[in-house]
Symmetry: C2
Subunit: 202 residues, 2 copies
Amino acid sequence: MSRLSFREQVLRVREDAIVTSVNRLLAEKGFDLMTVDEVAADVGIAKASLYKHFPSKEALAAAAMVRVLQRTSAIVDQQSAIAGISAFERLRAVTRWALEQQLSGEMPSLPSQNSSLRAELLGNRSYLDLLVQVSDRLGEWIVQAQQDGDIDGALPPEVVLYTVFARACDPVPGFLKAGGRYTDEQIVDWVLGTCMNGLRGR
Amino acid sequence: MSRLSFREQVLRVREDAIVTSVNRLLAEKGFDLMTVDEVAADVGIAKASLYKHFPSKEALAAAAMVRVLQRTSAIVDQQSAIAGISAFERLRAVTRWALEQQLSGEMPSLPSQNSSLRAELLGNRSYLDLLVQVSDRLGEWIVQAQQDGDIDGALPPEVVLYTVFARACDPVPGFLKAGGRYTDEQIVDWVLGTCMNGLRGR
DNA sequence: GTCTATAGCCAGATAGAC
DNA sequence: GTCTATCTGGCTATAGAC
């Protein structure tokens, strides 16, 4: 790890605070309804200062996605390090984490239709590398789980991967939470259960 | 059925064309990225004329949602009329229809966070009545399917209902279709299968 | 009811002093 | 790098002639 000058450390901390705000606002309101003014106000700096750190609203969103993927990658590492559990159980654990993140308002979700946003993400090396890395590692677990008979072997691994990814932006947990009748733990258990059971064959 | 004057018929046809355009654009780009100018251009009339029919962009979206619910209600009727099939099979058929609608670009999806849109929908009697009607009828099937042992009895019916509704805006079919490697029928079968299997107990 | 033209507003982005 | 003040474009909605 390289030494950073004091100035660089301050910069890091500030940008980290910005990404934290963006992350929360993206989870709360989504990309289109989030305004750069709000982000600036939330961080406590002027909008023009924000633009010294990130060149566009899209870049802010991309930074938030990169951080989420970094955290996801860390969770994947963590599950890989646990001995004596099946690939299916590892996959379940990562999916559970994603659902918990979403319920606690820390999972940003972006509209897949926005083209300027797509362009930004497709031009972001860090984002693409992390996405491929996480996808590959989850893909290995999926194939293994199919060999173990825990996931329906007739499903293309791609379908399983997307199904798991989609839990991170599933509207069901949010609706159930809004109803106020169930605990977060119940919600996670039900949604996770229906998801993972659906992947097993019959 | 009441006789309509010629003028009223022309009005109906025009408004129907408007709703058709809105429906397609909502499915394609979502509410925030859809502009009223686009809708007017797509219908082939001036924007000001559009505002003579519908008082706001939100009202346009609400009209599209009302039509979708009317069609859903018709599908529910149709399934109710079929003799000799289980409640679970009826529920599966309606869910399949929703997935097919989505894949063919005819299922509008609205952001649940937009507050002005929420207000419009909550103030729309037709929308609310249809939503309750459809929910109640699906709810009966769900309870029946649980009694039949086809759906896990430990799941609150509300969870099952939301899970089924959520398939109408699931991003997975769109991603698989964008990949271009599978037919629409395969995609529907896989997504429907993982969804319905997930609702069964173990 | 349809059009052209425009008002009014809001949000993303920037200029320029410090 | 931070600020205040401002520019700019695009979008919803409306005025007013026909």
